[in-house]
Homo-oligomer: 497 residues x 2
């Protein structure tokens, strides 16, 4: 069995326990681990590391692709292993440590981490820990359900630990396309010209002697935590479908649309799910995470191809898709996140980018990350890579939260992740605001009329009218701009702030 | 004389007066005019249009490359010709109309306007007005001192008016490289792989029958309004030079650095000027506007090549460079702003991007555009294209303004153009903050220690300490975050806000 998974024979001698492998990680090291949106993370070594740290404290900088599954970020945070963490996380336990100032979290555009590593602008990765389905005859590492930053971590690190996960099906082999941009000034154009373009290798090429330890695991990926569509997410999907249909009718694109990107989470997944009952067809995705909706669209015959950096599914969909992976494989590619999120490819392909906002303001600035302007939720992830460089940047959210105590549309966002320059379309269950070609004063009127919950519409219009009387390209009353957030903090509701 | 300039003979019949040409522009039209950073704008037709509008009112949407010279934006605004204006301006008169809500200004990333036009996401250009040094035998339009958006305007518009400017030297011919990305899905990689790459035509290819009128003019470009280096800008340049020198010593790059981009204006120009006395050599520029410093670096033997979208010089440098253009020409390219500012090329070449901040905050968010959070200065220009996609994103500013009544470093910027994710290095005359790989709480400490004017340092540290006691990844006291701006507005100073 193991000989099928470790096909470069000399490496069979490197199989060790997770504890032995974790012992290679020393205090103060920078460790680059696989894992992107709870898919394909190294599982045994970080657990062993947390266990060891309880007796023998140590601190590391942990870099990954994006978020980890199996509560690993929680476990590592609770064992006080993490001094620094980048470029993304989504764990409530780790979030608490970040917001307490105990863990230094560097919240980066997901395409940029390995660029900074490659040019030595941030401290180097001492050791990479990468989950794999197999090691090829030549010693190439075949990733599992995500690529993330694994390839560059393994290529740039001095030492590599591989976790062979026997629960990950061997049919994953052949799915990956590992292309790494050359160092400058020798860098050439990235040859990806369609979502289907295969331009690299189906494995991560590393000299086998760099693989210092191999650990065998059997733990499954965590399943996605997305909620099923509800009335509001169905309304959001309906508003967006109507809008895109109108774009087709105006001759701006065909029924195959432009390639789609959708951010992680319940709402973006529900929006894509909504395309099942739309007249769109022969869709393609060029995205970072492929969720349930990707496979629902495949099964509905709506989707022709999907490129991503990871596959993250609900438990039900996981059981359905993994055994049939060979059928889907010809319509799928998993790429390094540097390529799935690369500004060059995003602009070239002309993506329709659908991401989730925590809140947005009357001028279309978007907060994706900070509750109350101060407390980190997950991180900006790839939303900035896509929103800045795509063909059309769409942000979706429900108009209210916490039973209406929070309006998702506010006078001024308490933290800006996406500026008005990068936001073309806003969608809530109430309606849609098409902001293309509009000046701020016009944006405010469209957003207030179309996207705001009726309970908050008058108050927001009142703010805008009073602000605009003071003049300015982007009218505001600075001493009142955050009054809704302050009211929420102090009184538990934004109502009648 | 005119036969040398209009080499496609049948077009000699199309020469008309500026008034006759301006009569082709009708009320409600969208007009795309040449002009980028006060260089190469159409001069005679817009003046004739303003003149006509005083008797016979009309409104248009005016698109350009960037800002116009010869007070054209002022004249057009005063004649109430402008209903809408995009994607950039820098005129005090127009600014006033924008801030009064009389002109709808759409403030865009400079790489994006023609993408939106090409895909019909914004209303089409009805008529293009392009300044040229010549029309070739085949009818190709040879631009003058800027390319900007002229090529796409001319290609996409139904009708083109050409202004042949006899004061622009014929030696400009051969300087331009007109490459226009194909419509999707046929779009291929942009073949620019070095600043020197020539990938297109030396003229704008249009069917000659689209050229409906030719106007002859002789008006010079306006000279740049940049101020000479002063003690503060010299200190900023010194701080940045020391930093880059240290990057070289750490082996991150060679003395030739990475290709440089520098934004328009006094401070960025002074910073580049400062490289004359540095040990750097064989520098290259891949920028949008080439200012005096570009030619000073050429003359000092420091600069090997410069690619831009325009040449904007002081009166003195203008008189010096234009007669010697043939000497410089082999080291210069002018490109469409879509290419000079293209995310694909910016990321590939790995630019060091130096842009000017109006203010920045303790976490490194940058405001480039809005005074007091509400009133537009010029526009974001290309700074977002470069800051998001470059190798290293540097923002420079003086630590105080208005004799110290304003601190350029504030608790929270009153408007965000560049988020902390896109800001690597901040420089004032006080010092430099290297923010790479730092979490927000670390960024605050480095910025407060290194960049803030001593008069404001204690107050800013006090804010940060009190905010951080409340917790959060990015600590703030929302009700106090804009108190410095409010104090400035109400009391005329940020001191002891």
């Amino acid at each position: 069995m193991l000989r099928e998974r470790i096909r470069h024979r000399p490496l069979l001698d490197r199989v060790v326990t997770a504890d032995e492998a974790a012992a290679l990680i020393k205090d103060g090291m920078t460790v680059g681990m696989s894992g992107f949106t709870r898919a394909g993370e190294a599982k045994a070594v970080p657990l062993a590391l947390a266990e060891r740290a309880r007796k023998d404290p140590l601190k590391i900088t942990l870099m990954t692709g994006a978020s980890l599954g199996n509560d690993l970020d929680k476990t590592l945070a609770e064992a006080h292993v993490l001094a620094r963490r980048m470029p993304f996380q989504s764990d409530p336990g780790l979030r608490k440590a970040i917001n307490a100032g105990e863990v230094m979290f560097i919240d980066q555009h997901l395409s940029e981490t390995v660029e900074q590593l490659r040019t030595n602008q941030i401290p180097p990765v001492d050791i990479a820990v990468v989950e794999a389905v197999a090691i090829t005859e030549q010693g190439g590492i075949v990733p599992t359900t995500s690529v993330g930053n694994s390839a560059s971590f393994a290529i740039l690190a001095d030492k590599v630990i591989v976790e062979i996960n026997l629960s990950q099906p061997v049919t994953l082999e052949g799915l990956h396309d590992i292309y790494i941009p050359a160092r400058r000034p020798a860098r050439m154009p990235i040859p990806v010209v369609t979502p289907e373009s295969r331009v690299g290798l189906p494995f991560i090429p590393v000299p086998p002697e760099k693989i210092v330890a191999i650990v065998v695991s059997e733990k499954h990926d965590s399943s996605a935590t997305i909620l099923p569509p509800d009335d509001d997410t169905r309304a959001i999907a309906g508003n967006l479908t109507d809008f895109l249909l109108n774009e087709v009718k105006r001759g701006r694109m065909g029924y195959e649309l432009q390639p789609l990107q959708a951010g992680i989470g319940t709402i973006a997944n529900a929006v894509l799910h909504g395309f099942i009952d739309s007249p769109f067809h022969d869709l393609k995705m060029y995205s970072e995470v492929l969720q349930d909706s990707t496979f629902e669209l495949f099964d509905a015959g709506k989707l022709g191809f999907a490129s991503g950096s990871s596959i993250t599914l609900s438990a039900k969909m996981y059981r359905k898709v993994l055994p049939r992976l060979a059928e889907y494989k010809h319509h799928l590619i998993l790429r390094p996140q540097e390529i799935s999120n690369h500004p060059e490819v995003i602009r070239r392909l002309g993506l329709i980018c659908i991401n989730t906002a925590l809140e947005f303001d009357i001028y279309g600035n978007v907060n994706s990350t900070h509750v109350g302007g101060t407390h980190m939720m997950n991180g900006i992830g790839g939303s900035g890579d896509f929103a800045r460089n795509g063909y059309m940047s769409i942000f979706v959210t429900k108009s209210i939260a916490k039973n209406g105590a929070i309006s998702s549309v506010v006078p001024m966002v308490s933290h800006v992740d996406h500026t008005e320059h990068d936001v073309d379309v806003l969608v809530t269950e109430v309606g849609l605001a098409d902001l293309r070609g509009l000046a701020p004063r016009e944006r405010a009127q469209v957003i207030i009329a179309n996207c705001v919950h009726p309970d908050y519409r008058d108050a927001l219009r009142d703010y805008y009218v009073r602000a605009s009387q003071r003049g300015g390209h982007t009218p505001h009353i600075l001493e009142e701009a955050f009054s809704w957030h302050v009211a929420l903090r102090d009184r538990g509701t934004m109502r009648s702030a």
